[in-house]
Structures are given as structure tokens and as C-alpha cells.
């Protein structure tokens, strides 16, 4: 028998099956939390840090990764509080600087209005999200690739950096990779941030202190004639 727990998600009281993660619950209720290292069918990994959400009452709250945190009775979750957005934007900026050629990351940057990159671009091919490693091990039972080394030298590789004896060339690793799909040719392709998709903007993002907007795409603010008035509430 399924046990149902009651929790609060962005101010809404919802019922969720016990054992679900916050991310699963939020997505079930149509609220999007960005992720790079999460994929349904693979074990949660908690490494990309983008899915951080704020739990607990303001004042005693903390940030946790929603992909690993399981729901519990009375849990209060806020997926887009000011704290979360601030940190998430910084992370996206870091991702952009690491891997500016990735379409997925450029799209995220557009969505979160990250318009500048204050770091030297690295032009890496890999963000070490580990999706390929888990795909290979968990879905393909391959174990052909994995991580090696530690810290700043950590990378995804085959044993001894030589051709793997167990790889079946299935291509699953490439299929799940969020970094290897090249970005579209935006108007400023030389720049680390392309922002060509800024038309997907969520205008309310910059206006409210604790914006809890989870509409995707967002239209509510556009329709709100009193937007200017509301904006003044910001301290």
C-alpha cells in the first residue's frame, strides 16, 4: 500500500507518495527544476548542484539537492526563492565559463538571464555530470567508462586511457551527454554567452524579492497590467 505524505511546495499543500524525491514531486506537479546530472532511469547523483531547493521555514532554511532528498511529512520546499535563484545563477555562470559551446547550458543561461560571464572561458568538452558513466553501468551493464583521478584532474575515461575491451560502441554515453550538443549559431558566437534565446524571458524574475514563479513558459507577468506597481514593492 502506498503511503502518502503531505508537504508544501512553493506554498501549495500537496500529497506525494512516500519515497519520491523533491525533484520527482515537483516535476509531477508541473514545476520545473533545472538539472544537468539527473535522468529518469539512472540513479540520482547530486553533482551538478543546479537542482538545489530551499527547505524549511525562512530563517532556519537550508539548500538541498532535490534529486536526492526524499519527501517527508510536513516538508516545506521552495524551488525558486531568491536564495536559490542567486546561487543557481552563479552556478550557471560557472557552467557557461566551463563549457560555452553546449546548447543545453546556453539555453539555461538564457532562461535564467545570465548575460555576462566574468571568468575566462575554458572551452571544456565535459562538465563531469556523470550521466554517461551511469548510463554505461546502469542501463547498458557496460562499465566501459568511468571516472579517474581526483579534484581538478578528475575526468571521464576508459581504463588506462586505452580503448576499452568491454565497450560495445552502443553510443548511449553520447546520447545522454548534456555538453556535447553544440549550441546554435547565435548572433555573437565568439562570446562565451550567446543569449540568443532571451526572447524566452521571464520578466518577473528581476522584480520581486522572493519570486516564486514556476510557470514555464511564464506569461502571468506579461498579462499583469500593474507590473510596474508591483515592482515598487521590491526594497
Amino acid at each position: 500500500m502506498k503511503i502518502v505524505v503531505q508537504m508544501t511546495l512553493n506554498g501549495l499543500r500537496i500529497d506525494v507518495d512516500e519515497g519520491m524525491t523533491i525533484l520527482e514531486a515537483a516535476r509531477f506537479y508541473g514545476m520545473n527544476i533545472p538539472t544537468l546530472c539527473y535522468l529518469e532511469g539512472l540513479s540520482p547523483y547530486g553533482a551538478c548542484r543546479l537542482c538545489l531547493v530551499e527547505i524549511g521555514m525562512p530563517g532556519q532554511s537550508k539548500l538541498v539537492t532535490s534529486c536526492t532528498y526524499r519527501v517527508e511529512e510536513g516538508l516545506v520546499v521552495r524551488t525558486d526563492s531568491e536564495w536559490v535563484i542567486k546561487r543557481r545563477k552563479m552556478l550557471i555562470e560557472l557552467y557557461l565559463a566551463t563549457c560555452p559551446s553546449s546548447k543545453v547550458i546556453q539555453d539555461l543561461a538564457s532562461k535564467y538571464h545570465v548575460t555576462t560571464v566574468r571568468f575566462t572561458p575554458w572551452h571544456e568538452d565535459c562538465i563531469l555530470c556523470g550521466l554517461c558513466v551511469r548510463m554505461c553501468a546502469e542501463q547498458m551493464q557496460g562499465k566501459a567508462i568511468g571516472f579517474a583521478h581526483r579534484g581538478s584532474n578528475r575526468r571521464v575515461t576508459t581504463p588506462f586511457d586505452k580503448e576499452s575491451e568491454v565497450c560495445r560502441l552502443c553510443g548511449g554515453c553520447m546520447y545522454v551527454c548534456p555538453a556535447c550538443q553544440s549550441r546554435c549559431q547565435g548572433p555573437q558566437e565568439e562570446q562565451p554567452v550567446c543569449n540568443a534565446c532571451l526572447n524566452l524571458q521571464q520578466p518577473c524574475l528581476d522584480y520581486f524579492e522572493d519570486k516564486m514563479c514556476f510557470m514555464d513558459p511564464c506569461v502571468a507577468c506579461e498579462l499583469d497590467a500593474n507590473r510596474e506597481v508591483k515592482a515598487k514593492r521590491r526594497p
Binding site: K143, F147, P159, F160
Partner: protein
Amino acid sequence: MSKQLTDVEDVLEGAVKKHGLSVVPLLQEIQEHFRYLPEEVLRMLSRKTGIPLIDIYHAATFYNSLSLTPRARHQISVCAGTTCHIRGGGKLIEEIFQLLGIRPGEITSDGEFMLETVNCLGCCAFAPAMVVDGKYYGNLNPGEVREILNALRKKAVS
């Protein structure tokens, strides 16, 4: 060659009996015998135990004390702990570079010396410190490092 191979088999057999499928203790045992982790032996270990080779490789590259390359004859470990850092440990590394031309993690081309840094030797009262071939030296200055290494080099020549 075949005798050597049976030796390796024996080592692996003994290690597996003792540690089961625990990767790190297995690797420590192998390193104890060969002084490093030869690729061929690790491949044999994987075939023998069924532990995926990539897991073995990950562990072998993750830990400081495990090495995939043969060690040099003389092992120099300079302490890179905080106390040694503020009391001039960096100068010792600089001096060794001037003398032997190697940076931390490198081996001299003749295979005589290898330099590495360790996080803390735990003798902060005698910082900066280093260990050469298991012998501790404390309160060092670049001049003393030169003397110690020159003495070793002289020994190697004669």
C-alpha cells in the same frame, strides 16, 4: 616468464583470499609486492575477480599512495603542510628543482630521484621538513637540502 606469471598468480591468489573483493586493500597488497601497480597485473586482477577494470583504475588514480608508475630509487617527500608552507617549505621544493630539475610528482630521467609533496608529516615543530628514503629531516634550509641530496648523488656515483 612463465615462472613470473605464476608468481603473480600466487600474489593475486593470496590477496583475494585475504581481502575478498575490496579494491583498495587488494591494490595495497599488490603495490607491496611490486612497489607499484603494473597495468598487466591490474588487468589480471580484474579478470580473476570480476571487478570491472574501470573501478580498479579509478581507485588506483584516486589515492595518493597508489602509483601506476615505478618508483624511483630515492624517494623525496617534502612536507607541504601549512606550517611548512609558512616556514619556507616552498624554498625546499625550489631548491630541489634547481638541483635535480624535477617538480613534485616527477622522476629524474635517470630514475634515481622522485619528488613528491605530502600533506603533513606531523612534525610541525620542526618545519620545514622532508623525508628522504624513510629518513626524516627537520628545520631545513635550502643549503641543507643541497647537502643531503648531493651526498645521495655521490653515493649513487661511487
